[in-house]
Structure formats: structure tokens, C-alpha cells
């Protein structure tokens, strides 16, 4: 069993597990931090941005962490754990010869599609006149300025995929529900479990009859909107692959949410606007819910909230229809009937308005001071670029970062100097180290595999010994491009036995409750299923001489020797020997049993737990007698 680690990013994993003749890809996250190396793509021409000195990019921008560790076309299935971890899917399923199936839950597919659609939309609505790739050449890159010079693996950076590729990739997705068991080629069974992180997010169990591998990615124990995490099904794993812990171990989500609200209220009270760069699904639902409760208490009742995204409408509506994927108290609302999320009411009362972009209706409705939620959190593309240009000059306004994926200082770099206040409240609801160590204590996996980042304290805070995994046995760390031999041997395989063969068995009881029988059969293996079938009767000897040669080939079915079982009781054996006239016996105790020295006959009998030896030189009759005496005490099958 091997694990190929294609990504070293702990929250955007991409691993391939080879397990019992299947090749399973676990997630394919897309690391988009490389966009920070590019200038923002403004929706409206910005003279300031266009005058910025530096290198002009013409490329679409994504970093793909794939290496030629293995041939992507050999992948049988891809298991997706949540919509953030599937953003690289088109790069894997398209143009690589991939012929397998992708498994994901319905919300993961639908919201994942929205996020991809949004990304494509953001990219395509600011078309580039030309594209350049020569700079990726190592020789040229070396002479580039600043951080670009030091960027690694620029040649893996690819253009953003198109909508067509997205559709084609998503058409390969097969929907699954929680705890549904999917058979892969009869060899293994995979099954998604609720992970509590986002709508439809899952952990996966990959198991055969005797081995169980758990894959934990992006899980949360907080009671936010999704169904709670299913922990008990992860018990008794041989190997647990642990990824997707919180990126902000020191930032407690509750505290951050409080921080978010108080900064928002502070700004609005002072007459400023609040900009929240965020993804169009996920934490935003919780933010809106929290604000819903907060609005009244902070007397923000009249302040408009705008949610601007090409997929804003679908995102808000989808969240309301996936009732079965929601936590219990949201589910019960559906039967009232009431929308599970309070943002429906915010929309009804006109407190929350959503628009596909800043063009069109929005411009006529726009009222300040206000709160705007919009993407993309990298501040390099999407409508957020416009608001940065619009509000950046006033110190009354505040930008509140809630997504932990990008360094906020890097994100802000092209907008400097900035008068606007910046608040960093990364909200990451994924498991923290404290929770994960409790979880592991609970579910007791034999071995844990995790990104190497989790096995030591963060570089910047080397004293924080609480921010790492401490396990016994220590976890197996992996880094990008590692190939790990997972530390367990397959020792058993399930074999079926046909009824007629079973019928012919004659079991004999060797211990109370344990019966043993010998089987002679032919092992038949097909589709990873192993069956014992009766030995075909040798066909009657054909008369033709021609076939004689062939006849010698089939296995000669010999009647097997009977198997012996049992132990030789010392006292009784000595008594029997005495009856047979062997009296001078010296018994010596050894570590494994006894050595009997028949002094008159100059013979040794070694009685051990798993063997009996009679050492008797040139006295065949004596040996035979002794053998028979020993056999008397043993059972035959």
C-alpha cells in the first residue's frame, strides 16, 4: 500500500492511494496563492493600477501542484471531500487521459460548480489582449524583479480553465450520500462520512474486508450550519490520513466572529463602509446569520448589506434547499416550514441585497454607508478590486479579511498606500490541534499520516508546543512529492467457499468449540473476489492416444496425509513407555518442553510445543514403536 503525495499544502491536499489494485485520488485542491504575484484585474480601467511600475502579466493564473509522480490516466477514482478541495478537478480529468469516476456529495458538486463558475467568470470578463509564457523560462525568470524571481515551479502555473472544461470535468462526478457504500472493482469499498466543515463536506473511509483506511480532510466540530461530524465511524482504522486542519490554529473562530462584528459596528457607527472579501459560499452563511442577530443589538438596522458575486443568487438559494445536509436544528426549520438560514429574511426585509456584479442594478441601488461581501479574497480579481479602488483612500472605511487562504498583507500590497483600516479576522472552523488530539484519542487509529507541517510547531512560534501533533506512535509526516509505504501489511484476504464444497467437509473438533477440516479445492479469482471451488473430477481417460500428453498435465490429486493435532502428556507417555518395557527414562525440562533420554536405548525424544523429534540411530524398529506410541496421543483429521 502506497501513498503518493502530490501536494504539500496541508489544507489543499492531493494524495493518491494505491490500495489493493485500485488507484484512488484523495482530493485535488487548487492553490491559488500564485495570483498574488500578479497585478489586480480591474473591472473598470484604473489609471493608478495601469501606471504601477513593474511587470505586466498577460496570463491567467493558477498554480497547479502536480508532478509527474504518476500517470494521471491510471487513476481509477477521485474522492472529493469538500468544494474547496475540488477546484483543480478540470486539470486532472481533462486532457490527461483520465477515464475514471469522481465521487462527491451533491452540495459539494453544486457549490463546487458555483465556485468554478465564479472563478471562470472573474477571469473571462477581463479578457487579456495577449498572453505570454516565455518568462517562465528559467533564464528569463532569473532576471525578473522581486518575488517573481524567487517563485518556484512557475512552469506549473497554468491558465485558468474554461467553462467548457468545468462542465466536462463535472460530468464525470457520481453523486453519493453520507454512509453510502460504493464498491470499487470488488476490491475496496469507499464511503463518505459527514465532516461538519461545510455543506456536503465529507471524510472518507476506504476499506477492504480486513483493512481500513480513513481519510480526514477539512472537518469541524463546531456547531455551524452543516451536519455534525461523524466521528464514531472513523474508529478502528489501520491508517488515518489526516489533512485539512485549521490554517489559523491561534485564531479561535468564535473570537474572530466577535471581532468581525465589533469592527463592523464600529465602522458603520463612524459613518464608514465595510468591505468583506470572501468566497461566495461557506463561512459567509455563518457571517450573515451572525450579523442577522447582531444587526438589532448594534442598531445597524438601516445599514444595507450587499452580496456581489456572479453566483450570489444561486449560492444563497442552494444553501436553503440542501436541508438533508444541514445540522439538526436547521433541518427542523424546514418542516415548520421556514427557511433554514435567516438570510432569507434579510433578503425579504431588503436588508441584504445580492447582485451578480457591480454593473447594472447595483449602481442604482447603491447606498452608503454599507457592508459589501464580494470576491475574490486574493483581491486580484472579481468585484472586490473595484471597491478597493473606491474606498481605499478614506480612513473611515474598513476592510475585514475573513478568509484564511491568503496573507492579507500580500493581498493588500498593490493597493498601498492605503488609508482604509484593515482588520484581519480569519475564520477557520476546521479542527485545531487541541480538538484533533482529543479526536485521535477517541478513535485510536493504529497509524496516522499527516503533512509534515503538523509535526512541529509553526516556524514563527517555535515555543508553541501546543500547536503540533504529539502522538504515540509518532505520526508519519509527508511532504510534496513524497511516496510513503503505508506501515501495515495485508495479512488476510476473504475467500468464499461454494456450498457444495462446504457440504463435503468433515470437520472434527480439536478443542471445545473449534473444529477443523481439511479442504482440497481450486481457488478461483475474478473481479477481486476469491472463491474455492470443488476440484473438478478428472475427466475419464480418453481413448485417444493423442491426448495422453495433455492428460499428464492436470494436477495429480493425491489424498493428503492426515494432519495431526494435540499434545503428548508427559506422565501418560512415560507410563506407556514403561508398559513397553522402557524404564530408564531421564526427563529433562527445556524452555519449550521436555527431552526424554532413554538411557538403555541411547535414544532421545524431544517433546516440544510445536514438534516431536525422535533421535534414534540405527534402530528402526524402536523408532517405529516410539512413533506409534507418540501417535496414540494425537488426533488425526
Amino acid at each position: 500500500m502506497k501513498l503518493y503525495c502530490l501536494s504539500g499544502h496541508p489544507t489543499l491536499p492531493c494524495n493518491v492511494l494505491k490500495f489493493k489494485s485500485t488507484t484512488i485520488m484523495l482530493d485535488c485542491g487548487l492553490d491559488t496563492t500564485s495570483v498574488l504575484n500578479f497585478l489586480p484585474l480591474p473591472l473598470v480601467h484604473s489609471s493608478r493600477l495601469s501606471k504601477l511600475p513593474g511587470w505586466v502579466s498577460k496570463d491567467g493564473t493558477v498554480n497547479l501542484e502536480k508532478r509527474e509522480l504518476l500517470d494521471l490516466s491510471t487513476i481509477d477514482v477521485i474522492l472529493i471531500s469538500n468544494y474547496h478541495c475540488m477546484m483543480a478537478l478540470p486539470y486532472i480529468t481533462e486532457h490527461t487521459g483520465f477515464t475514471g469516476t469522481v465521487y462527491a456529495t451533491e452540495p459539494t458538486l453544486q457549490i463546487g460548480r458555483l465556485l468554478m463558475e465564479e472563478l471562470v467568470n472573474f477571469m473571462e470578463r477581463v479578457p487579456k489582449a495577449q498572453s505570454a509564457t516565455c518568462w517562465k523560462n528559467k533564464e528569463i525568470q532569473r532576471i525578473l524583479p522581486g518575488p517573481l524571481k524567487d517563485a518556484v515551479d512557475v512552469w506549473t502555473w497554468k491558465r485558468c480553465y474554461s467553462m467548457q472544461e468545468v462542465n466536462s470535468a463535472l460530468s464525470k462526478v457520481q453523486l453519493v450520500g453520507y454512509s453510502q457504500k460504493v464498491e470499487l472493482f470488488g476490491a475496496v469499498q469507499v464511503s463518505p462520512l459527514s465532516s461538519g466543515y461545510s455543506l456536503g463536506s465529507s471524510n472518507w473511509i476506504i476499506q477492504s474486508h480486513h483493512e481500513k483506511v480513513s481519510y480526514v480532510s477539512g472537518s469541524s466540530l463546531l456547531t455551524t450550519h452543516p451536519q455534525p461530524m461523524d466521528q464514531s465511524s472513523l474508529k478502528n482504522s489501520d491508517v488515518l490520513i489526516l489533512t485539512g486542519l485549521t490554517q489559523m490554529p491561534t485564531a479561535n473562530p468564535d473570537g474572530m466572529l466577535g471581532e468581525f462584528c465589533s469592527n463592523l459596528a464600529m465602522t458603520i457607527r463612524a459613518g464608514g463602509n465595510v468591505l468583506v472579501p470572501c468566497y461566495s459560499s461557506g463561512v459567509i452563511y455563518d457571517l450573515l446569520e451572525c450579523l442577522y442577530q447582531f444587526i438589532e443589538s448594534a442598531s445597524l438596522g438601516t445599514t444595507p448589506f450587499y452580496f456581489i458575486s456572479p453566483v450570489a443568487n444561486s449560492s444563497l438559494e442552494f444553501s436553503q434547499i440542501f436541508a438533508e445536509w444541514l445540522c439538526h436544528n436547521k433541518q427542523t426549520k424546514v418542516y415548520l416550514p421556514e427557511p433554514p438560514f435567516p438570510h432569507a429574511e434579510l433578503i425579504q426585509t431588503n436588508k441584504l441585497k445580492h447582485y451578480p456584479s457591480i454593473h447594472g442594478d447595483f449602481s442604482s441601488e447603491f447606498r452608503q454607508p454599507c457592508v459589501v461581501f464580494t470576491g475574490h479574497p486574493s483581491l486580484r480579481f472579481g468585484d472586490v478590486v473595484h471597491f478597493m479602488e473606491l474606498w481605499g483612500k478614506s480612513s473611515l472605511n474598513t476592510i475585514i479579511f475573513t478568509e484564511p487562504d491568503f496573507s492579507y498583507l500580500d493581498a493588500l500590497a498593490p493597493y498601498q498606500p492605503l488609508a482604509m483600516k484593515c482588520v484581519y479576522c480569519p475564520i477557520d472552523t476546521r479542527l485545531n490541534f487541541h480538538q484533533v488530539s482529543k479526536l485521535l484519542k477517541e478513535i485510536q487509529p493504529l497509524h496516522v499520516v499527516c503533512p509534515e507541517q503538523y509535526t512541529q510547531p509553526p516556524v514563527s512560534q517555535s515555543h508553541r508546543s501546543d500547536l503540533m501533533l504529539e502522538l504515540q506512535p509518532p505520526p508519519m509526516p509527508y511532504r510534496r512529492c513524497s511516496v510513503l509505504n503505508l506501515p501495515f501489511r495485508r495479512r488476510y484476504e476473504r475467500v468464499y467457499i461454494l456450498p457444495e464444497l462446504a457440504n463435503s467437509l468433515v470437520p472434527s473438533e480439536i478443542k471445545p468449540g473449534i473444529s477443523v477440516a481439511t479442504v482440497s479445492a481450486v481457488l478461483h479469482s475474478k473481479d477481486n473476489k476469491h472463491t474455492l471451488q470443488s476440484v473438478p473430477k478428472p475427466p475419464p481417460v480418453p481413448p485417444s492416444k493423442k491426448r495422453k500428453r495433455v492428460m499428464e498435465e492436470p494436477p495429480v490429486v493425491l489424498v493428503p496425509k492426515p494432519l495431526l493435532s494435540g499434545a503428548v502428556p508427559l506422565e501418560a507417555f512415560l507410563a506407556t513407555l514403561q508398559k513397553h518395557g522402557i524404564t530408564e527414562v531421564k526427563v529433562e525440562e527445556t524452555a519449550d518442553g521436555h527431552i526424554l533420554h532413554l538411557q538403555a536405548e541411547d535414544t532421545l525424544i524431544q517433546l516440544e510445543e510445536d514438534g516431536t523429534h525422535i533421535v534414534c540411530d540405527n534402530n528402526e524398529p524402536l523408532r517405529t514403536t516410539l512413533r506409534d506410541l507418540v501417535l496414540r496421543f494425537l488426533q488425526k483429521l
Partner: protein, 906 residues
């Protein structure tokens, strides 16, 4: 004792003795006993007053089918009756005592298993053991030679109440009967010679009842108890730890109160056991054992016993770090001042701090406990209590004399500061503390709270002031941290107030820090958690109040928080808060913030007008009492700070006090019609201030209700015209402001405290403007002008009530006059003066203030109002009646089970 009660008592005893009849509720017996106890304490003799009790006791004690609670009551009652020697003798004559306290009796009846019998037995004996005869009885009685044996057994009773009562009972016997303090008194436990006897009789003059016999008895008791202590102090197995715990508690109780011979014997007896306990080192026993050792060590007048000193040293060297810390803390807690031991305890207490923070608190020398303490701290469950004990003791340590301290106090402050930094996860790389321990304390709210408490206390430590900048930085950091718990934030604010109020010089504070603090406070006012908003608003008020209380420090508030201009808008915003506590805190904070400008008589601002109108809105509309109470308090504060510098009424119209006086009428009328009685009482307090203000300087005005108007000479009043005209204008002013209406309406309020306060104020007013002693002169011209001042009464509610009383009073007087043959004209005149416009319907009418004040019968009313509302139902008579009623109801032959009448005493 009330004769009515005495007459009821026999029937009550009958009810109690009859096991078939039941009691009104389970507190009845306790109340009855309380009544008897009170009676006995007051010096009465129960047996004399209620002879029926003796019969009751002798009946009940034979009837083992009685309710156990009645039996327990009987036991205690018997003890109470036998507490006096006479009672004791009488009971013994009737041979009741032997049976009542005979253990065997209860055991055979199978009642001893009931804990209420056991506790009744103990308490009965306890009440009885007040005189030597009782001691004799206690030591030898009936066929059981000693009561002491079962009492010792009860030490380990299943019921902790029984065990604890038995414990205290033992202490009572030993301490109560110990021979009086005398120089040569050491006869206990020895065979008395004749010379000793004379000696004792001389010294025991004040306790003549203690006879030689008693001495021997006492000695026997002491011997038995001491033997028991010696035997049982050291637990033989773990299950006996509880017993040892009890005995240690007893010992420390005894050692702190026992006098010389007893004390020495105790020490001698238990020395060996204590040593064994110290060597065995049971963790659960550390604290009580320390208490015993310290009690033994410190209370002696001469040099402490060497043996005990040795034990103390051993306790401070035991091998379990957690116990060690507790032992050391006990030394400090007891205020023990033995240089060597205290210094050592201080070292031990500082050890955890020193390990975690890496501060060199203990000097360069290594510590023998260092390694084991490090191990201890690495375990999460053990680490936090140890650190907390260390932190809790640290403020006391910093205040100790220098020769106890291994380092200057400032270093300890530094260590706590760096611990606070560790707790919040902000550890600088230069911190040399033990990183393995960090994971246990990072984010621990408990440690943070303890450390902040310590920090608050450090503000008074010598030399701590130099740390102000660092302290403010950390506190700001805590206030800013999104993960801080509301209680942690609250404590941070407390520390901040304390430090800024101690450190007057804030010039060393960097601008950045000030800006940070202002920003953080602004953010916290918008916090999602109301507790945090509340603490923040409260802090703003306290900061303004504390920092301004001393005038020269005004700039501190200005410097630290940007002064009123910065905080007032925040507080105004908080007036809109959805949580009533926050609104209330904001109102009080505003009062504290504005108090300074009021005090200086500053000009009126637009802001103040806005605040006042918002406050009036809150008073009239807010659904929660807290906020409304705070509004009245706000105006009280305002009034006080204005009147302290100049009378508000005489201020110019542009000053803030004119705004105050303009609002008073609305405040009074809104406040007095509030639904919350506290708001009404506060309103009356404001009215009281207005009264004080109006009559200040007037003769005869006694502030408060305890004044003695008799001091005023009637002739003096009549002769002083100027004073009279002042009085008229003052009274008319009060009528105009609505003060009089508030007082009158308060008098008829259904809430007793409101009525009481109003009544007291009205009496004061009456004594000032128209004392009853002057009634005879009423019609003279001298008082006529005052009497003409009138006020309006509404045609409903309290107004109607008052009119009714006034009319009745007038009729009475008219009749009186007719009888005495006085002039008709006079009464007619009176009528005109009393009620100016006569109308019977719902219309409001005007009545003379003096007339009303005199007619209301305020003094009788005050008498009624002063009594607590349950004075009728709480009397012994009512209790006895309840018992009888309940039993009558139950005894009724037609009553079916389940149809019981439930009578509740309250």
C-alpha cells in the same frame, strides 16, 4: 411568655405527642425550637413557664412509634430544658433524662439508624452540657458508663451533618469545662492532693460549681478523647482518611482555643501521630494537617515547641510538589512570621512562577524541588491548580519585608507579567521559561484570571509603579485579544482602573499605547457579548470617576482615554443598547463622566440636552427596571454635584443646573408612578435632596427622619417673620416642583419601603413647616401664611384617599368643637382654609399642605410601616395556632386520605 401561647401549648403538645396527627409543614418543629431557645436565652425557665413540656417529653419518649422528627425535637427540647441546673434537677427527678439520652433505648426501638435521631441526641446533649451536673450525668449515667464512647463513634458517621455535630460537641466539652486560667493549675489527670484542692478552690472562685468530682470527670473525658485521638488520628487504610480529616479539624479547633494544661496534653498526645502523618504524606490531609501544625506552632506565647518546628520544616520539604505548594500557602495564609519558615514557603510558592517564566526569582542557587516541580507542571491537570496557588499568594509576598524575599518585589511583578504573556500565547523568543509547560497554561482562563487578580493587587507593591508602561501594554493586549473571556476582560478593566488610579504620572506612556487603548475600548463597546459591553461601559464610568476624584489628576483621564470628548459619544451610543444592564451601566457611567463639568458649573451644552431627553425617554418607556433606576440615580448624582458648589435654583439659565431643575418635575412625576418600587424609593431620595435643599439653614429642619422637633421653641418661630416668609416660598417651591405630590402619593404606595420612606420624609416636613406642638397657635396670623400654601390632589387613587382622611378628621374636629362650644365661625373659616375648591367628583382639588400633613396621622402610620410585613404571621402564637388548625383538619373523621388541607405557614 405570652399567656395566650402558654394556654395553647398543652394542646399543641398533645398534637405533637399524638403520632396519628400531622404537622402543618416540616419547618414547624424548628420554629418551635427556635422560639424555646430564644426564651431560654432570654433567661426564662421553660419548665416553670410551661410545665406541660415535662409531661410531653415523658410521654413521647416512651412512644417509639412517633415520627422520628418529633422524637429528634424531643431530644433537643430535653437538652434545652436541662441546660439550667434547676431544669436538669427537675428532669432527673422525673427520671426522664436517663431514658431520653439512653442510647440503648433508641437502638432497641430501631430508631438509631435515622440520622435525625442521632443529630437530635448530639444536639440535646450539647445544649445540656452547660453546667457541672450535666457533666456528671454525661460521664456516668445508667448502665452505660460513658456517653463518650458513642459520641466518638459518631465522629465517623455516614451523615456528614452528624459527624460534624459530633466533632463540634467534642470540642465543646473539652473547651467549656477546661479549668480556668491560673498560674499553677496543672492538676488535671493527676491524683489531687489536699494542697492542690485548696489551691483549686481559691483559683476557681468565679466557677464555684466546678467541684473536685467534676475535675475527675473532666479528666476522664479528656483521657478518653485523647486516647481516641492517639488511636485514630493516623488512618490505617485509605477508607479512614475521612476520619483523620475530621480529627484534624477538631484538633486545629482545639489548639486555637485551648489553654495551657489542656493544650500541652493535646500536643503531647498527638505529637507521635502528627509525625507519622507528616511522614506518610496523604495529599488529602495536607491542608488540615498544616492547619494543626501551624495552630500548634504559633499560638503558644513562649518559644514554639522544637518538635512542632521540626514537623513544620518537614511539611515544607515533602516530596509531592502539589502538596508542598498548599503547605507553603497555608504558612502565608496563617500570617505566620517565623523568618526561616516563611522565607522557605515564599521560595516554594515562587518556584512554579520561576519555572514557567524563566525569571530568576530564586537567585542562582538550584532548588531541590525544581525537578519534581517541573514534572508536576508538565501535567495539565496538576499544573493549573499549582500555578493558581502560586499566583494568589504572590501579592502578599511582594508586601513582605525584604528579608523574607529571595528577589526584589518588582521581579515578581515582572514574572507575573510574563506569565500573562505566555497565557495569551505571546511569548517572546527571549523567554527562557519551560516551553513544555506553556501548552498547559496557554489560553487557560483560570490562570489568566488569577494572574490578573494578582496584577491588580500588585499596584500597591513597592516599586511596582515603574512597571506601569508594561502593565498597560499587557492589559491593552488582553483587552484586544479576540479570545479573551468576558470575565478575563472584566478583570483586565479592574486592573487598569486600579493601576491608573495608583500611578499618577502617566507621562512615560507612549502615544501608540494610548491610541491602542482608545481603539480597543471603542471596539469593545461594540462587542457581541453584552457582558463585555457592560464591563467596558462600567470601566469608562469608573475611569472617569476614579481619575477625577482627585482634581489634579484630571489630565490622567484626558491622557489615557482622550477625556469626555472621546468617551461621551460611546456612552451615548450605549444608551440604545438592547441589553438593560448595559443601558443602566451606561447611565451611571455618564453620570460619573459628566459629574466633573457639573461640579464646576460648566455651561450647558447641546449634548447634555440630548442626553437628558434620552434619559427621560428611558425613564418613561424602558421595559427594564435597572435602566430606570439608573436614570433616577443619574439625576441624584447630578443634583449632588451641583448643590455642592452652588444652589441649583440660583444658577443662571445657561448653566447645566438650570437644565437639571427644569427636568426635576418630569423626573419626579415619572419616577413616582413607576411600577418598580426601587425606582420609587430612588425618586423619594431625590425628593429628600430637594427638601434638604429647600430647607437647608432653616431652624427646625432635621435632616432625616430621626429629628427631634421638640427642640424647636414655639415662641421663637412666631417671632421670626423673615424666617416664616422663607418657609412659605420654600414650601411653595416644593409644591411647584411636585415634591409634595410625590411624598403624598408615596405614602399610599402598596410597597412598604416606599410608604416608609415617604412617611419619614413627610414627618420631617411636618416638623419643619407646621409642628404639631404649634397646633394651638394654628389660627394665629403668624402661621396663617404658611398654612395657606396648598397643593393639588388628583381626583383618584391616593388623592381621593387623602381627601377622605382630611374630611373625616375635619368632621371629628367639628364635632369636638361643637361639644366644647367653640365658635361656629372658627370652624367655617377653617373649612375655607382647608379646602379651597370643594368638588366631589373625579376633579382634582387643592388642599392646604399643613392641613394634610396634620390630618394624615403620620406617626401611627410610621409605626405600622416600620413593622415587617410578616410580623403577624411570624409570631409564636400564629405558629401554635397553625399546628392546632392543621391537626384539627387532619383529625376530622370525614377527611379522606388525599383530601388533606395543605396549610402553609407563609
Amino acid at each position: 411568655m405570652d399567656t395566650e401561647c402558654v394556654s395553647l401549648l398543652p394542646r399543641v403538645c398533645e398534637v405533637l405527642a399524638d403520632s396519628a396527627r400531622s404537622l402543618p409543614d416540616d419547618t414547624t418543629l424548628e420554629k418551635l425550637l427556635d422560639w424555646f431557645t430564644g426564651f431560654t436565652k432570654a433567661g426564662g425557665s421553660l419548665l416553670e413557664a410551661c410545665p406541660c413540656l415535662l409531661e410531653f417529653v415523658s410521654t413521647v419518649v416512651y412512644n417509639t412509634t412517633s415520627d422520628p422528627s418529633v422524637l429528634s425535637f424531643t431530644l433537643r427540647l430535653t437538652g434545652l430544658m436541662a441546660a439550667s441546673e434547676d431544669g436538669f434537677i427537675m428532669l432527673q427527678e422525673y427520671s426522664v433524662l436517663d431514658l431520653v439520652f439512653k442510647l440503648q433505648h433508641w437502638q432497641e426501638a430501631g430508631l438509631w439508624d435515622d440520622p435525625c435521631i442521632r443529630i437530635g441526641w448530639i444536639q440535646g446533649l450539647w445544649s445540656m452540657l452547660q453546667h457541672p451536673k450535666a457533666l456528671t450525668f454525661f460521664v456516668q449515667s445508667g448502665d452505660t458508663p460513658y456517653f463518650i464512647e458513642p459520641l466518638l463513634q459518631l465522629q465517623t458517621d455516614r451523615s456528614i451533618f452528624v459527624a460534624s455535630a459530633a466533632n463540634q460537641m467534642l470540642a465543646h466539652i473539652l473547651l467549656f469545662f477546661q479549668p480556668p486560667l491560673s498560674a499553677g493549675c496543672n492538676g488535671i489527670g493527676k491524683k489531687d492532693g489536699d494542697d492542690k484542692r485548696t489551691h483549686a478552690s481559691i483559683t476557681d472562685l468565679d466557677q464555684p460549681a466546678i467541684t473536685l468530682e467534676n475535675r475527675a470527670e473532666y479528666a476522664a473525658v479528656v483521657t478518653a478523647i485523647l486516647e481516641y485521638l492517639k488511636e485514630s488520628l493516623v488512618p490505617k487504610e485509605n477508607t479512614q482518611l475521612h476520619q483523620s480529616l475530621q480529627l484534624l479539624k477538631l484538633l486545629s479547633l482545639l489548639l486555637t482555643q485551648a489553654r495551657s494544661p489542656l493544650r500541652d496534653m493535646l500536643l503531647q498526645t498527638v505529637a507521635g501521630s502528627l509525625e507519622e502523618l507528616v511522614t506518610t504524606g496523604y495529599s488529602q490531609l495536607t491542608v488540615p494537617l498544616m492547619d494543626v501544625i501551624l495552630a500548634a506552632h504559633s499560638s503558644g506565647t513562649d518559644e514554639p515547641d522544637k518538635h512542632i518546628t521540626h514537623l513544620l520544616s518537614s511539611m515544607l520539604k515533602i516530596n509531592k510538589p502539589a502538596d508542598l505548594i498548599h503547605a507553603a500557602a497555608a504558612v502565608l495564609r496563617r500570617g505566620h512570621h517565623d523568618t526561616a519558615h516563611t522565607a522557605w514557603a515564599v521560595r516554594l510558592l515562587l518556584l512554579p512562577l520561576s519555572i514557567i517564566t524563566g525569571q530568576t526569582l530564586l537567585g542562582a542557587a538550584g532548588d531541590e524541588h525544581h525537578l519534581s516541580m517541573v514534572e508536576q507542571l508538565k501535567s495539565k491537570t496538576l499544573c493549573i491548580p499549582v500555578v493558581c496557588v502560586s499566583l494568589t499568594s504572590s501579592p502578599q509576598i511582594t508586601l513582605m519585608p525584604a528579608d523574607f524575599l529571595p528577589c526584589p518585589p518588582v521581579t515578581i511583578v515582572t514574572a507575573v507579567l510574563s506569565l500573562l504573556r505566555v497565557c495569551s500565547g505571546h511569548v517572546s523568543s527571549s523567554c527562557t521559561g519551560c516551553t513544555e509547560v506553556f501548552r498547559n497554561v496557554i489560553g487557560s482562563g483560570k490562570v489568566q484570571r488569577c494572574a490578573l487578580d494578582a496584577l491588580t493587587a500588585f499596584s500597591c507593591s513597592p516599586g511596582a509603579k515603574e512597571k506601569i508602561s508594561e502593565v498597560l501594554t499587557i492589559l491593552t493586549q488582553y483587552l484586544d485579544s479576540p479570545d479573551s473571556d468576558p470575565t478575563v476582560l472584566h478583570k483586565s478593566y479592574q486592573a487598569l482602573v486600579k493601576w491608573t488610579c495608583v500611578c499618577k504620572d502617566l507621562s512615560s506612556i507612549k502615544d501608540q499605547l494610548r491610541q491602542d487603548l482608545i481603539r480597543v475600548v471603542k471596539k469593545r463597546v461594540c462587542d457581541m457579548r453584552w457582558e463585555v459591553r457592560d464591563s467596558t461601559v462600567e470601566f469608562l464610568g469608573k475611569a472617569a470617576g476614579v481619575l477625577k476624584s482627585a482634581k489634579e489628576e484630571h489630565d490622567v483621564f484626558e491622557a489615557l482615554l482622550g477625556g469626555c470628548s472621546c468617551t461621551t459619544p460611546l456612552l451615548k451610543e450605549a444608551l440604545q443598547d438592547p441589553e438593560s444592564y448595559v443601558r443602566a451601566s451606561a447611565i451611571s457611567a455618564l453620570a460619573q463622566t459628566l459629574a466633573h463639568s457639573w461640579h464646576q458649573g460648566a455651561a450647558l451644552t447641546q449634548e447634555q440636552t440630548e442626553i437628558v431627553s434620552r434619559l427621560l425617554e428611558i425613564l418613561s418607556q424602558d421595559t427594564e427596571g435597572f435602566a430606570r433606576r439608573a436614570v433616577i440615580q443619574f439625576f441624584i448624582t447630578w443634583f449632588l454635584s451641583c448643590s455642592s458648589h452652588s444652589p441649583p435654583s440660583s444658577s443662571t439659565s445657561s448653566s447645566s443646573s438650570s437644565l437639571l431643575m427644569n427636568s426635576v418635575h418630569s423626573i419626579l412625576s415619572l419616577g413616582s408612578t413607576d411600577l418598580d418600587w426601587e425606582v420609587k424609593v430612588h425618586t423619594l431620595e431625590l425628593a429628600e435632596l430637594l427638601l434638604d435643599e429647600a430647607f437647608s439653614g432653616h431652624r427646625g429642619y432635621g435632616k432625616g427622619s430621626n429629628s427631634h422637633p421638640a427642640l424647636l421653641h414655639p415662641n421663637a418661630v412666631v417671632s421670626d417673620q423673615a424666617w416664616k416668609s422663607d418657609l412659605v416660598s420654600a414650601l411653595s417651591g416644593l409644591v411647584e416642583l411636585g415634591v409634595i405630590s410625590v411624598l403624598l402619593s408615596g405614602l399610599f404606595d402598596c410597597d412598604r419601603p416606599v410608604g416608609l420612606k415617604a412617611c419619614q420624609l413627610l414627618i420631617t416636613l411636618r416638623e419643619t413647616v407646621c409642628p404639631l406642638s404649634l397646633e394651638a397657635l394654628d389660627a394665629t396670623t403668624a402661621m396663617a401664611t404658611v398654612a395657606r400654601v396648598s397643593c393639588e390632589l388628583p381626583g383618584w387613587g391616593w388623592g381621593q384617599e387623602i381627601r377622605k382622611i382630611v374630611r373625616m378628621k375635619k368632621n371629628d374636629r367639628a364635632n369636638e368643637m361643637a361639644v366644647t362650644g367653640a365658635d361656629e365661625v372658627c370652624s367655617k373659616e377653617h373649612n375655607e382654609a382647608g379646602e379651597h375648591s370643594v368638588s366631589e367628583g373625579g376633579e382634582s382639588v387643592c388642599v392646604g399642605v399643613c392641613e394634610v400633613l396634620r390630618s394624615l396621622g403620620l406617626d401611627e402610620r410610621l409605626g405600622v410601616l416600620t413593622q415587617s410585613s410578616d410580623h403577624v404571621h411570624n409570631s409564636p402564637l400564629s405558629l401554635l395556632q397553625d399546628i392546632l388548625t392543621a391537626s384539627a383538619a387532619h383529625a376530622h373523621p370525614d377527611t379522606q386520605p388525599g383530601q388533606e388541607v395543605i396549610v402553609d405557614c407563609y
